[in-house]
Symmetry: C2
DNA sequence: TGCATAATTGTAATGATTATAAAATAAAAA
DNA sequence: TTTTTATTTTATAATCATTACAATTATGCA
């Protein structure tokens, strides 16, 4: 299947050996752009792969992030979410419905003061508030 | 004492009844601008207040944040840190030494796309990388 | 003083994540 | 194909921050 082939190639490109589980987990994150939690990934894929272990999901996501294939999103207080989008973007969390939105911003205009000679590995803008939909439901 | 008086007044200003524990906890956060964790606050203040309970620290910090007196900083994966600075600023975490730095940025120039009619309650820029000091130690 | 409310405490529960060691699978060598 | 080795996956237990809860203590007011 073409899609699987692409997923597999992308794993290899990032230095990850494409095992069946790894392909399935990455495929899920790419196709479901919902910043899933470990638990969501585990529960959904368990239907397809009954023997799947949660530890495997944890290990795989950690490997993916180390290899810069995906990014963790730390916008929740209690659990980590994952994001496969490669372009620079920020995250908005609605405090009413809980949904997490991606948004673009003009990162080239950002000027940091006091971080000269600091090495940047990861940047994220996190906003919390009420989303448009929830705000219109008052 | 003048300082205590100010702390107490500030709590009242934010709708918080200034009990002894609350004054001590807020005083600690203000005087130690190190984005302390619950555990750090608890252990340090325990020396002065031997009967202090960790639950009280949790409850108090939650109350402070609800009343917008302080902000939680979600830059660590596993634990929450707290910040009493009121001005807008971002956070940089050094992945080598673990230190968290505040930095200023030109937030007036930031333009978000796709968040029209969203209500913002809290904004933070999180950067991870290697700080100047650690970078020079290679 | 006595009562009502708020604040604090100690302990147990929750739940995400990690550690660990065994089992299964894949890859390589003979 | 067999044997050996390395890698991947699994299951279980441990860790640790946070929360729930009920009891206790302190505070404010009639």
């Amino acid at each position: 299947m073409q899609l699987i082939q692409n997923i597999s190639d992308e794993l290899i490109l990032y230095g990850i050996k494409p095992s069946y589980h790894r392909i399935k987990i990455y495929e899920y994150i790419v196709n479901n752009n919902i910043h899933p939690t470990v638990d969501t990934i585990f529960k959904t894929l368990s239907n397809e792969i009954p023997t799947l272990s949660k530890t495997t999901v944890y290990n795989t996501l950690k490997l993916f992030e180390e290899q810069k294939l995906i990014k963790s999103v730390n916008i929740e207080e209690n659990e980590i979410r994952y994001d496969a989008r490669k372009n620079i973007h920020g995250h908005f969390k609605c405090e009413r419905c809980g949904k997490i939105y991606d948004f673009d911003y003009n990162y080239n205009d950002l000027k940091y003061k006091g971080l000269e000679h600091f090495i940047f590995n990861k940047t994220d803008i996190m906003i919390k508030g009420i989303c448009k939909l929830c705000a219109s439901e008052n």
